[in-house]
Structures are given as C-alpha cells and as structure tokens.
C-alpha cells in the first residue's frame, strides 16, 4: 500500500495540518529543519539507523547513522558559532557531493544561519555574483575548489571565513582560511538548535531568469511541512527504503528531496559522488539495493542511450519506485523505464521557487506517459490566459501555469530583490514561467517556457548572463544566446557572435570562447555551439532579437519582424 493511498480521497479532506500533526508542530512553535532531520529522528528511536551511505571514487565508502548526523551537525554548528557566525548569516556550501555537504547543511540550519548551497562546478564569476548578492559570511569548501574562491577573495570583504573540510597540511592555509575535519573533530554531544520560527530564513538557492543577475530564492523553515509530505506521498518513502536522489544539493532538488525530505522522515539515503556512467549507476543500485530512485530526465535519456543490454548485467530487482524531476520527462523515457525496470518513472514538476512538488504523478494513479500529472493536494493550480491572466476553463487550451501562493514551501522573496519577486505574480497567481494545458481528465501537459531561459539538463541558464560573459571575451563584439534542441539534455546553450576586427572566425577561436565561458560561469552555461555571424538581427532601436534566432534553431515561424532593422 502506498503512503498516499487514493489521490482522489486525499483531495477531499486535505489540509497541511496533516503534516504539522505528524511532525508534532503547532502554529507558533519553534521549527528548525536541522533539528527535525537529526535530533528528532534520534528521539524517535532511530539513532542507530543509517542516515547516509556515501560512496566516492574507487568505491571509497562512508556511513553515518542518524546519531552520527546529529553529533556531526552539532559539531559543525558549534564550530561556526565559535567563529562568530550568527543567526541568519549566510553560509555557503561549495563542495562536491561529500558527506560534509549533507551534514554541514543540517548544522548550518541548527545554528539558525542560512544555508547557501552552490554548485561546485561554478566558475569564479558565477560564484562571485551569488556570494555578493547574499553577502555571505562563511564558505565551506574543499581543496579542489578553493582556488576559485581565492581568485575573487579580494572583492569579497564580507566573507570572513573559508572553511576547508579536507585540509591535509601540505600547503599553508591562506588569508581567512581555516581547517575543519568533520569526522576527526571532537564531537559535540549537546547543541541546542536555534529556536527558529516558521518564517525564519533557512535556505538560499540561486536561479536564473531571462534578464538580470541570478536571483537568490529565499526559503523558510516552514517549508519543511510541504517537503515532508510530498516526500512521503509522492516519493512514497517507507521506513525500510534505501533512497537514492541523484541531484546535487547545489540545486534545490538536492536539498528539498536530497536532505530535508528523506531525513525528516528518518529514511536511509545513499549518495554516489562520482561522475555519470550507466555502468557505475547500475552497479550502485545493485550494490546498495536501492529501492526508491529519484533522478532527472537527462540522466534517464543518457541511460536509454547506453542501451538495454547493459541492464541485463545487473540485478536491479530492489527498485520498487522511480520518479523524475528537472525538465519534462518525455513519453518515450516513461515507456522505456516500464519496459526495462518494470516500473515507470513518475514525472514531478516544481522549481526552485516553489520549494516542493506542485504537479506530479502519484503511486497508484494512472500514468499518461509525457504528462506532468496532477496538482499535489493543497495546491491550487490552473492554466491562465496569457493576456488577461484569468483561468482558462477550456480543456486543451494552452496558457500559463498559475499557482495560488499558499503552500508552505513557496519562496518568500528573492534575496535583496523584492521588485523582481513581485513581478512573478498576476491576479493573485504565482507564475512559474511555463506554459501548459489541461486535458479532459485533469492531467497537465507541458508545452514550454514562457521566456528565453534555457533549461539544460534540468538547470536553468540565463541567456543574459552568458551573453554578458561572452562580451568580456576579447574577440566578441556582439552576442546572442538561445536554446538549441538536444536529444539528451532537452536544450543546450547556443551562442551567436560577431567578432571584433582582427579576429578570425575559426574552430580554434570557437573552442577558446567555449572554455572561457565554462571557466567563468560553469560547464552548464558553456555554449555547445557558437555560430559566427556578420551581424545579429536587431530591432530598429538596436535591441538584439533573440527570438528570431530561437525560431531559426527550433524550425519555428519567426513571427512579427516588423521592428527588425533593415540590413
């Protein structure tokens, strides 16, 4: 029997107080996610239950029980406190998927500080802009990533501490750096979690929009309520499950459902901290006897590409439930997973701003391959007319997805950017920026983004950010960046550039520009293709018409080009 039971029945009598009761929370009480993910589970008698089974390169393994998580998060919180880190200070986690990332996250929350996880592949520019916006106090990182921090340190007087979790003493520590070894430090038995309240800030995740700099999405401790319940009902986690969320906690899935959801439920999770290969993933599932697997369409399509034969070499019979997030899961992938694993991946739709699942497929509910599913109980969703922002009552008519912003995990604002936050609402609806339609059975079907943001492998890339970075390359005079269709990643970044005089448009320059962006921003933002142009399409007022280039890439009608300047 699944945790949700009947979806229809849940709709009838739903109230978020279901989660509040299960978590013994009443309005006005203290609510600290860090405490819920560690101390509370120990108090429930699961102190010796494995919380994290971690595997790194070469099969290196580490295991932590819930009591280990409690002690180590206490120790981290206490260490930060002794350094002078205060309530609501931002503490950045800039690491690979190592245990310190997961347990450090819990420790930061216990202290009452704000966890700011950042994807470890970010280049120094991407890192700087996010730290600068957050005015981050401390950065917890590894030797392999500290050079990127050092490069920009002079521009960040607000960063007081850089904490190295794997310092080996081979080279001297530099300015503001301090070593901290989580496993070897004297463990702190008692640390009183800060009495955060429902609206106390908890996590700051960064996301990209069409224009402007990345936005810091502010979440609060009350988000636990919807993260807990969606984990329980959609991911269907049960006490004896071995759960594997493949997402990196540098992104929201990796925290909402890679830390908070499973650990607040007292579930054992495993983490594979190596690069992707079909062989290593299947081997990991077999070895760890993974029962619930939450992954992303890009990974699923990569596995499809690796073929069906390889699957036969592994015993994957432990798998009982699969789900997917990040970008729309195509029907072929759903059908394929049913064929090779005997179970369909259930698509879940949500985003950084929503903090928890919004439209999803449920255990026991009929799946329509390719559909986003139906709203989670308690979520008021609709499709809005693109001009009036009134709900469309007609089945099958496309429009903008809209949500009534009243669920616990909804972002509270964009950090130091309330103006942009307010622009996300129309007529009382929160607009996630995606277009869809509803069919006659109430299932939602994704159509596409309503803006120019590029969704590559489930990560949003701002064309503006890439265009700006391109202009910093010595050879680039003008740039325009659009999404290009991609079989595996759904979309990848494509750049159109004009060159300054004296530069030759050849393959070597293309590679140099690609690497320039990779290092400056991130591998995700690196254009997978650069097309040289003599000029870019512009309006008569000189604005580059990105949509003309986008239409060309997607083989679509260009639309109204009356404002296009004459050649």
């Amino acid at each position: 029997m699944s945790n949700i039971g009947s979806y229809e029945k849940r709709l009838e009598d739903f109230d978020w107080s279901i989660a509040e009761k299960e978590l013994d929370y009443k309005s006005g009480d203290d609510i600290n996610i860090g405490w819920y993910c560690s101390d509370r589970i120990c108090e429930m008698g699961k102190a010796d239950k494995p919380a994290l089974i971690w595997e790194g390169l070469g099969g290196v393994e580490k295991q932590y029980t819930f009591n280990d998580v409690r002690l180590r998060s206490n120790t981290i919180a206490s260490f930060l406190k002794d350094l002078g880190v205060k309530t609501e200070d931002r503490v950045c986690l800039f690491m690979d998927k190592i245990p310190e990332l997961y347990i450090g996250f819990v420790g930061i929350l216990k202290l009452g500080a704000v966890a700011q996880p950042l994807f470890s592949a970010f280049g120094d520019d991407s890192l700087h802009v996010r730290l600068d916006n957050a005015q981050t106090t401390a950065i917890i990182t590894q030797r392999k990533h500290v050079s990127k921090v050092r490069k920009i340190l002079d521009q960040m007087p607000y960063v007081k501490h850089i904490i190295l979790v794997d310092y080996d003493g081979s080279k001297p520590l530099r300015e503001r750096e301090i070593a901290f070894n989580m496993d070897e430090a004297e463990q702190v038995e008692n640390f009183k979690s800060f009495p955060t309240k429902a609206e106390s800030p908890s996590v700051l995740h960064y996301t990209s929009g069409t224009t402007g700099q990345p936005k810091g999405v502010k979440h609060v401790h009350y988000s636990l309520i919807s993260q807990y319940l969606t984990t329980k009902w959609v991911l269907d986690l049960q006490d004896n499950d071995i759960y594997w969320c493949t997402a990196d906690p540098g992104w929201v899935t990796g925290t909402s459902y890679g830390i908070i959801g499973p650990w607040s439920l007292g579930i054992t999770q495993c983490v594979l901290d190596t690069g992707f290969s079909a062989e290593s993933w299947y081997k990991f599932i077999e070895k760890r006897k993974v029962t619930m697997w939450y992954s992303a369409p890009t990974a699923i399509r990569s596995l499809m590409k690796a073929g069906d034969e390889i699957i036969k070499q592994y015993d994957l019979s432990s798998l009982r439930h699969l789900a997917s997030v990040g970008e729309p899961l195509n029907a072929e992938a759903v059908i394929w997973s049913e064929k090779v694993f005997g179970k369909a991946f259930l698509d879940t739709y949500w985003q950084t701003e929503t903090g928890s699942m919004m439209l999803t497929n449920y255990p026991g509910m009929k799946i329509k391959p390719g559909s986003m599913g139906k709203p989670f109980p308690g979520i008021t969703a609709t499709i809005l007319d693109t001009k009036t922002f009134e709900p469309i009552n007609e089945t099958g008519k496309p429009g903008l997805i809209g949500f009534k912003p009243d669920w616990p995990a909804m972002m509270r604002t964009y950090w130091r950017n309330e103006e942009t936050f307010q622009k996300k609402f129309e007529n009382g609806w929160y607009l996630p920026g995606d277009r869809a339609y509803i069919d006659q059975d109430g299932y939602y079907w994704f159509i596409g983004r309503d803006d120019d943001v590029i969704n590559t492998g489930g990560h949003l890339i701002s064309p503006f950010e890439v265009e700006s970075a391109l202009l910093e390359h010595e050879a680039v005079a003008e740039s325009a960046v659009v999404a290009k269709p991609d079989e595996v990643n759904m979309e990848v970044v494509k750049a159109f550039v004009t060159l300054k005089p004296g530069f030759v448009a050849d393959d070597d320059l293309e590679l140099k520009i690609m690497n320039f962006i990779r290092k400056k921003l991130s591998p995700l933002a690196m254009p997978q293709e650069i097309e040289y142009r003599d000029s870019l399409p512009k309006t008569r007022s000189g604005k580059i018409m990105r949509r003309v280039l986008h239409a060309q890439e997607w083989g679509e009608e260009v639309g109204d080009i009356s404002t296009l300047e004459d050649d």
């Binding site: 390169l57 690979d96 592949a121 030797r143 392999k144 500290v146 050079s147 990127k148 901290d273 190596t274 690069g275 992707f276 290969s277 079909a278 062989e279 290593s280 990569s302 590409k305 690796a306 590559t456 492998g457 393959d507 070597d508 293309e510 590679l511 690609m514 690497n515 990779r518 591998p523 995700l524 690196m526 997978q528």
Partner: protein, 80 residues
C-alpha cells in the same frame, strides 16, 4: 609527431584541473571521477576534433570512451 597521450593529458590538466588536483595520469578516471563533467566533455571532444582534424560522431562520444586519456587515445585513433 607529438605523443598523443601527452598532448591530451596536458590539455586535460591545463583546462580541467587546478593546482589542487593536477595529479592526473593516463589512467585517471576523468568522467566517472568527476574531473570532466558531461557538459565539459563537449569542449574536450571539440579540442580533439580540432587538433587531429577528425570528426567524432556523437554516438561514439560516450562517457565511457572519454573516461581516461588512454581510452581517449584509442577513440581518436579510430577516426584518424
């Protein structure tokens, strides 16, 4: 002619490693070891194509084929 493996190794260290993780050898796992991610693999493939004037079909550019410098050499030689 330059030793192909040395050229590839030098490029990998120069482009994908920093001072703290430059102890890469011909057998170091690049993709499964997280040194080169799947997105960055595109730039590594482009480097090989430019350098050796070859075209590596996407179907052959798998994470497994790019996982070590030794394997990359085998791949490149197939298309020379």
């Amino acid at each position: 002619m330059e030793d192909m493996k040395e050229v590839i190794l030098e490029y990998v260290i120069e482009e994908y490693c920093d001072e703290e993780n430059d102890d890469v050898t011909f057998e170091t796992p690049l993709i499964s070891g997280g040194i080169v991610d799947s997105f960055s693999m595109v730039s590594l493939k482009r480097f090989l194509e430019n350098k050796y004037k070859i075209s590596i079909p996407d179907a052959d550019a798998s994470p497994e084929a790019f996982d070590t410098v030794n394997k990359i050499e085998v791949l490149v030689k197939r298309f020379l």
